[in-house]
Subunit: 300 residues, 2 copies
């Protein structure tokens, strides 16, 4: 008897999205063609047809050949719960990051594949492939035939990460300044400036919104470098910060308020086409980010 059954999270996720779509349409109207739905929801027709079948069984639609009549609006109970629609990889990433960032597990710990599979409720292959994929972030490493070892989010990790980040972002700032004034990135920068000022005015209550803004801002900066290795590295930064924002709540409001100001200084420097000013503002911001990161170290 199988411990873990094969997941069909894609189908369930598409099913939920189709319910959302139906909600926007009045009863008595027809759903579009299978191919159109397939394009729109980014799934194969096979999946779409499985969804339509289920919708018909649930009497949400009446499906006969090319006619797909909406019978009733979906209710909350029609939806699959979010746990079922998440991909194995998402589940693993969240569980794993929570596990290692909680500090319950020590640096140098040997990671046991079958134990992880048991604890996280997924198969050993899923764990195995996740670990291989995840290893590119440098938080774990493996020696052949001996398995995986937790490197962990240590002080050195944070320092090395910050060093490279400073190297890359400084370059990105300089590349940004080289963009022609009609390049779309300048409009995007204006938009981000507005969003920053908006959030600044209501930061007391809404400081949690900063995390998304932060990611968008740095992603825009780095886009000027137009370099896949810099983008890849930003994925790592984003990962670390994502979970950092999620679990390290210390001084969060103050930190975010300060960071908004630092971002605005960089934006001002860029808009003034003032290389020196922008560079200094960037250095200030990254120095602050480095400090924050170091304060959140669990180990050493």
């Amino acid at each position: 008897m199988p411990f873990v059954v094969k997941r069909n999270n894609r189908y369930k996720s598409i099913y939920n999205q189709t319910l959302d779509l139906i909600k926007t349409l009045p009863d008595g109207t027809e759903l579009s063609t299978e191919s159109a739905l397939s394009d729109r929801l980014n799934a194969s027709r096979t999946t779409i047809r499985a969804v339509l079948k289920h919708l018909a069984d649930e009497k949400v639609i009446d499906w006969r050949g090319r006619h797909k009549l909406i019978l009733r609006p979906p209710t909350d109970t029609d939806y699959f719960v979010s746990e079922e629609t998440r991909s194995t990889d998402e589940i693993l990433e969240t569980a794993f990051m929570q596990w290692i960032l909680s500090g319950d597990v020590n640096v140098g710990t040997h990671l046991n594949e079958s134990e992880m599979a048991r604890n996280f409720g997924v198969s050993t292959s899923a764990v195995r492939e996740f670990l291989i994929r995840f290893s590119r972030f440098g938080l774990i490493k493996k020696q052949p035939s001996t398995g995986w070892e937790l490197v962990g989010f240590t002080k050195n990790f944070a320092l090395e990460l910050s060093d490279v980040r400073e190297l890359f972002e400084t370059r990105s700032v300089h590349q940004f300044l080289k963009q022609p004034s009609d390049a779309p990135c300048w409009a995007a920068l204006d938009e981000l400036e507005t969003q920053h000022k908006d959030l600044q005015s209501r930061v007391e209550t809404d400081y949690l919104e900063f995390s998304t803004l932060d990611d968008n801002f740095h992603r825009l900066l780095n886009s000027a470098s137009d370099n896949r290795f810099i983008s890849d590295f930003h994925d790592l930064i984003a990962l670390i910060f994502h979970y950092h924002y999620r679990w390290n709540k210390q001084d969060e409001r103050e930190r975010n308020t300060a960071a908004i100001g630092q971002h605005l200084a960089i934006i001002a420097g860029l808009k003034a086409r003032d290389r020196n000013k922008a560079t200094v503002a960037c250095a200030n911001h990254l120095a602050a980010a480095r400090k924050t990161l170091l304060r959140s170290i669990v180990w050493d």
Copy 2:
């Protein structure tokens, strides 16, 4: 019936290493203890015992409990052929790099897992895990449920690679200059200088030896940065250059001769503790390397 049988390349590789070891010992002497062999050859006692068993069967040793008497020196036919001792990952990497660098396969090509498994004579899991592992180099990428796509060693890839390389190595040169004069890296630099001069004197015939020297030199430089992300990136550089040296034979002697001179200029700058001179020499070398790389592009 299985298409592919499970490999035991580790055992075979250790067996060959044990034969090497026995060659250094005269007949009639005893091999050391199982644990000692295990430590020395970096394998578990289980593997060592399997090797000893095979050695006894082949009458190379007489094995009775703790007595392992050497009966005869190993012959060439005792050895497993190298194909059998290579790991699946090595096999895949070589075959895959040869395949994509040969230019027979176009950028954007969809990589079929089972086809690759068939062609390379390994299982689909092996291919799958290889692709995940290999994807960190950015030569392939995957979109969920749709499989892998060849990004390929394109002009942009080479340009972006070179950009980051210049960023990192310039930093490494500066970090190198900050090392205290009694740091071991200075002695290592002296040693490399000697090797470079030695090779320079016989470059006409032995220019193929440069590839190893090149890797060692850049690895030493980057070690000054003491940064895992910079080291990881160097792995990518090393991979590209390894196969580049292997298949791109155009002007190889001239290129290597020039590169030796460039390396020596960097070494001279470093030894003189002349930041400016070292930086310029490094920039020159990397500019030449960039040019070489771009000339070897298969696609675009």
